[in-house]
């Protein structure tokens, strides 16, 4: 219990720092964090976060509090990773986001996520299920590199079956080519 409280306090301190700093968001992230360059992110808040590469990760026994997942100022509140047409590689701009969730999983070994892959409407239903799966798997593989474990991540695919936007245009398609990170209990 004490470990949780300490971790929470550390986290709060760091989060507080980063949110009170007047620097541009780009400067607060780790060195590996490039600026977010597209309209990919849909949730509000900073594009990067003090959590990334901070002292609460790596070898810590305490966990990042789950409240961070809901904090709009925290990168963990961002859940969408967008892909190019027919592509399943995680674009560089989403690396900090994926890393942050991986570090969260690393610091909370009991935590679980489901990665839901989605595609745009082009292509057949079943092939798109496989393509969405491949996107979810790509995000998972990156999370594993950043310290999450296999057992914590289930990857599934909705293919083109559950479009967030129903339009038949590039704007809708771009929104629908997406992996969503869903933490357990959400």
């Amino acid at each position: 219990m004490r470990k949780w409280i300490i971790a929470a306090l550390i986290f709060a301190a760091i989060a507080g720092c980063s949110s009170t700093e007047e620097k541009p968001a780009e400067d607060t992230g780790a060195a590996t964090t490039p600026p977010a360059t597209t309209g990919g992110a849909t949730t509000g808040g900073a594009t990067t976060s003090g959590v990334t590469g901070s002292g609460v990760t790596g070898g810590q026994t305490g966990g990042i509090p789950s409240s961070a997942l809901k904090d709009p100022r925290n990168i963990l509140s961002r859940r969408n990773i967008y892909f190019d047409y027919d592509q399943f590689t995680v674009k560089e701009e989403f690396r900090p986001l994926v890393e942050a969730h991986a570090k969260y999983l690393q610091s909370n070994r009991g935590a679980r996520v489901i990665l839901q892959g989605n595609t745009d409407e082009r292509g057949t239903r079943e092939y798109n299920i496989a393509l969405g799966q491949k996107r979810a798997d790509a995000v998972k593989n990156m999370m594993l590199l950043y310290g999450a474990t296999e057992v914590q991540i289930e990857t599934v695919s909705f293919g083109k079956e559950k479009p967030r936007r129903e339009g038949h245009d590039e704007t809708s398609w771009a929104e629908n080519r997406r992996v969503d990170i869903v933490h357990s209990g959400e």
Partner: protein, 424 residues
């Protein structure tokens, strides 16, 4: 070129007012010869609320292979083969004549008799009688149409088969089973989450399908008789693309439980899961060849999505498609000669057919978003999903590309057609 002179004849079949959600079939294009046939209203037919010759002529006309010749002016109307003066029908251009009668027998049942005559060769081709209830009139009409179709074209008729498809109305999804003419639609599954990939067991008693109701793709098998269903595959990850083996004992499926979308084989009760092959990429959309010895599937193992054939005995995998950057959804034709698939050409998705022997590809449709081809048991007609404006509809095309149909639903988005087997 004379065969093409009938191109783009576009006429609407005015069927009885469709029930809510019922598909009606329109011929939207036809090219080639049609058999002129006179179908004389059956004796006593007018005394029943639902006739039979209307069903027969609707089936035959929608096939695109027949055209109706009027019997107007022929009096009295013949009802038995021996009463037909073939000269009267030849004079009106008919190559074939159908006559028949309906006669009440015990228990409110009806004896339906019919005869098919070849007006050119002046011979009787078929003569049958059925004792049926009024509830069986539609089915009887389809059976008669099957007999006529087979006698005059040499191919098995598929008017007595059923089709399955998925409708989406708002956020409501239903798996519907209907007669091949769209009649008698019945929802066998309803869900507020997407349903896809219905697949008939070869004997028509069960349907496998994928449901996202548990927030991930899970494969179910449902009994047509009882409506009871069981989970076929609900492993970690996604479970999809069910395909029955021709003996109905096993299914090929795509599972991601061991990483990636990979092909597995399992028993129809969900037991005995075994991996079929391994690749580092996507393997999915398995479909058995009619002899059960091979599986066609789509894979991006070579970089782009292409169709491959896995020979089950040897495990050998052979690439089948080479033109284009996206060839998926292979469906072997029941006659064993080739397969139907989806090809992307430019930005359009088209239905195409490839012959095994010649490797020749014929594109059958024009897109823009055609998919989910399913082949009639006689290999002559392909039903598929298409996009018409913002709506999903079903469409049909003959496997030679000449005849085009549209299956129109009054309300819902329609998709994922699956043609059922011949009745046993």
């Amino acid at each position: 070129m004379p065969r093409l002179i009938l191109a783009a004849l576009a006429f609407l079949i005015l069927a009885a007012a469709p029930a809510r959600g019922q598909l009606t079939i329109e011929i939207v294009g036809g090219a080639g010869t049609t058999i002129p046939i006179a179908i004389v209203p059956f004796e006593n037919e007018g005394t029943y609320p639902l006739g039979i010759t209307g069903i027969v002529s609707g089936d035959l006309t929608r096939s695109g292979l027949f055209r109706q010749v009027s019997d107007a002016g022929i009096a009295p109307r013949p009802s038995r083969a021996e009463d037909v003066r073939l000269g009267d029908f030849r004079a009106r251009g008919a190559d074939a004549v159908v006559v028949g009668s309906m006669r009440p027998v015990a228990d409110g049942r009806v004896e339906v008799r019919f005869a098919l005559l070849d007006a050119v060769k002046q011979v009787q081709l078929a003569s049958m009688s059925y004792i049926v209830t009024q509830a069986q009139f539609r089915a009887t009409g389809h059976k008669i149409a099957d007999v006529i179709y087979e006698k005059l074209t040499g191919d098995v008729g598929v008017f007595s088969t059923r089709i399955a498809y998925i409708t989406k109305q708002g956020n409501r999804f239903e798996l519907i089973v209907a007669d091949a003419d769209g009649g008698n639609p019945q929802a066998i599954v309803g869900s507020n989450e997407p349903l896809l990939s219905p697949a008939w067991s070869p004997d028509g008693t069960r349907i496998a399908y994928v449901s996202l109701e548990s927030k991930k793709p899970v494969i179910y098998v449902q009994s047509m008789a009882t409506g009871q269903r069981q989970v076929l595959a609900n492993f970690r990850g996604s479970n999809s693309a069910p395909a029955w083996s021709p003996d109905g004992r096993r299914l090929a499926v795509t599972l991601t439980k061991d990483g990636g979308s990979q092909l597995f084989l399992m028993n129809a009760d969900g037991s005995g899961v075994q991996r079929l092959i391994s690749s580092g990429g996507i393997d999915t959309e398995p479909s058995f060849t009619p002899d059960g010895r091979a599986i066609l599937f789509s894979s991006d193992r070579g970089g782009s999505p292409q169709i491959y054939r896995l020979t089950l005995a040897s495990g050998a995998v052979e690439r089948m498609t080479f033109d284009g950057s996206y060839n998926v959804s292979p469906n072997p034709t029941p006659d064993g000669k080739g397969f139907v698939f989806v090809r992307r050409d430019g930005g359009r998705f088209l239905i195409a057919i490839q012959d095994y022997a010649t490797r020749q590809v014929q594109v059958l449709t024009s897109g823009p978003l055609d998919e989910s081809p399913s082949i009639a048991p006689n290999s002559k007609l392909i039903i598929y999903a298409a996009q018409q404006g913002p709506r999903g509809i079903l469409a049909g095309v003959s496997s030679d590309g000449r005849i085009k149909q549209r299956l129109v639903s009054p309300a819902a988005d329609v998709r994922e057609p699956a043609w059922g087997p011949l009745p046993r």
